[in-house]
């Protein structure tokens, strides 16, 4: 549904996107993750036809975003990181304006506005001015606005920014339900737990490149596919010998250490994690706590981009 091939974009000689490639299948909910300045917003803006790429090709539903922007806009809903609203319009006027901007007229327009109001739960406040809404409700209104023309693809740039936990939960539910209706969603976010909860795959971007190589992504759904196990090990007494003991155990990789707590990634699944525990104990390490679990998105992020939190 979304095809991105070797996209490049430079700003004042600096590469925002440097040959990024990705494929998003129809009906998929794919997350886009990367540090600040990695190129996430630029990529989404190119797909939303706001920014022209310097090179490469991006298509949505088979339409080239550079050469067929109107066709792309007709099937795409875009929500920017800071969604703008007209404070001095009522909610109903705001939605009517955008319905007309998407060429909806007459009964179709009325139905779209009613659906957007009821979908967002803002129907009772239709006559209220937009300025009276909280940030969370404004986000919800803008998301409702992007759905007016029933887009097949949603491009969401940091949609959860500034939302309180309850609003984030609601947003996750809304995205899940839209995805369930067959809408393809590409969402960038710094809130990794949210992405992990709703996305089937995640693409990592750094310095404008796909971290996993051309079109590469990380599968999130399906624990059976996970082979690496992340373990948190708290030891008692002498900690100096722990890194050496881990190094001598074949599949273990020390990710992080803080005082007497070690975060270790073990390849080969839970059985190898149990083997590692046995190995450490046999080699004289006093293990106070051993907490094995599959690596979450945060672990992947940590291993890819260092210990910096997103």
């Amino acid at each position: 549904m979304i095809g991105i091939h070797e996209i490049r974009k430079h700003y004042d000689g600096t590469a925002a996107l440097d040959g990024f490639s990705l494929e998003v299948k129809p009906g998929e909910l794919l997350g886009l993750v990367g540090p600040n300045g990695a190129g996430k917003t630029t990529l989404i803006r190119i797909l939303a036809t706001l920014t022209r790429p310097d090179a490469g090709q991006a298509t949505i539903g088979g339409h080239d975003v550079t050469h067929e922007p109107a066709a792309v806009r007709a099937m795409t809903g875009y929500m920017p990181d800071v969604p703008g609203v007209y404070q001095d319009l009522t909610l109903e006027e705001f939605l009517i304006f955008f319905a007309e901007a998407f060429h909806l007229r007459g009964a179709k327009k009325r139905a779209a506005v009613e659906h957007a109001l009821s979908w967002s739960g803002l129907g009772e406040r239709r006559k209220a001015y937009v300025e009276q809404l909280s940030l969370g409700l404004k986000q919800r209104l803008v998301l409702a606005r992007t759905l007016l023309h029933e887009p097949k693809v949603l491009l969401l740039d940091e949609p959860a920014t500034g939302l309180d936990p309850l609003a984030r939960i609601e947003l996750r539910e809304q995205l899940r339900s839209l995805n369930g209706e067959g809408v393809t969603i590409l969402v960038s976010s710094h809130i990794l737990s949210d992405l992990e909860d709703i996305c089937s795959r995640v693409a990592f971007i750094a310095t404008g490149k796909n971290v996993f190589g051309e079109g590469g992504t990380l599968e999130l759904k399906g624990a059976e596919k996970r082979t690496a196990v992340s373990c948190e090990i708290e030891v008692l007494g002498n900690v100096e010998g722990v890194p050496a003991a881990l190094a001598s155990f074949g599949d273990a990789r020390l990710v992080e250490s803080k005082l007497n707590v070690f975060r270790v990634e073990v390849g080969g699944g839970p059985q190898r994690a149990a083997d590692m525990l046995r190995y450490l104990v046999t080699n004289g390490v006093t293990v106070l706590r051993f907490d094995p679990r599959g690596p979450d998105l945060e672990d992947h992020y940590r291993s890819l981009f260092g210990s910096k939190t997103p």
Partner: protein
């Protein structure tokens, strides 16, 4: 109908300036009428007040009112046009417009129509004040209509320049400042340039006359001193001057043909250029938002 127009008008009329500006504008024009009448009858020509022809007052009042109206509207036009696209950038709503099915032309037209319509509202609301000149005579309805249409044409050009600045700059304050600078160029600077060229031309004429007098040749004929009306290179700066064009609109047909048409053409070119560049800029403004 273009959805931009409905939205723009709704937003404009909800602002406080939606009713405040027309009120202040009419109060200002009313004050001009009162002051002019008082000045003309009591201060300037008190000895002649009884024998003063009504048509003289009517003609002069019409001129003063037309210039006052044009001056106020030239000050107001950038307020409506220069901030209209930049405000969308500042409020971050332009991305919503650019990713909808609205074309840059539709966005421009909606903005232009709404800002021009407010100026039309002001112009129409001032018609009763302008019609006061009928009480004195000397001015017909046709002259009022021509002056109003020419003023509207000038304001449309200024609005178009304002919209270009609004599409080009990110901040309303910059767009408004540059639009005012453009207005200063076409009003004050063009008049100053004309005055300089005129004095230069008159000096040349005087030197020529003095030379002929020294040679004993006749100095009173047009053949001797050159043409009485300034040549094109002297008049040209006035072609971008709004006051000049409006003055010509109620002048003679010959004046209109000689100077009015070229001046109107200059304004038309300015309008079309700023329109073209504004639409082009809007196409690219996705990069700016």
């Amino acid at each position: 109908m273009n959805p931009m127009i409905g939205k723009e008008l709704r937003q404009r009329m909800r602002e406080r300036r939606g009713w405040l500006l027309p009120t202040l504008y009419l109060v200002a024009l009313g004050a001009v009428v009162i002051f002019f009448y008082y000045f003309e009858v009591t201060i300037r020509r008190p000895w002649d007040a009884r024998g003063l022809q009504g048509s003289e007052i009517g003609g002069a009042l019409f001129l003063v009112l037309t210039y006052a109206q044009l001056s106020i509207l030239l000050l107001l036009a950038p307020v409506f046009s220069a901030g209209s696209i930049t405000i969308e950038k500042e409020q971050r709503t332009l991305t919503g417009l650019l990713t909808s099915l609205l074309t840059p032309l539709e966005i421009w037209w909606g903005k232009f129509f709404a800002s021009s319509l407010f100026l039309v509202l002001l112009l129409v609301s001032s018609l009763p004040v302008l019609s006061l000149v009928f009480a004195f005579g000397g001015i017909g309805p046709l002259q009022i209509v021509l002056a109003t249409l020419t003023t509207l044409f000038v304001l449309a050009t200024v609005s178009s320049i304002g919209l270009y600045c609004s599409a080009y700059f990110r901040r309303s304050v910059h767009a408004t400042a540059v639009t005012y600078a453009a207005i200063i160029v076409i009003t004050a600077l063009s008049a100053i340039t004309f005055a300089i060229l005129m004095s230069q031309w008159e000096r040349q004429r005087q030197v020529r006359t003095e030379l002929r007098a020294a040679q004993g040749a006749p100095t009173t004929t047009e053949a001797a001193t050159g043409p009485i009306t300034p040549p094109l290179w002297v008049r040209a700066p006035l072609y971008v001057n709004p006051y000049f064009l409006v003055t010509l609109s109620f002048g003679t047909a010959e004046d209109w043909a000689n100077d009015g048409v070229p001046s109107a053409a200059v304004f038309l070119v300015l309008f079309l250029l700023s329109f073209t560049f504004a639409v082009r800029q809007l196409r690219r403004s996705g990069e700016q938002t």
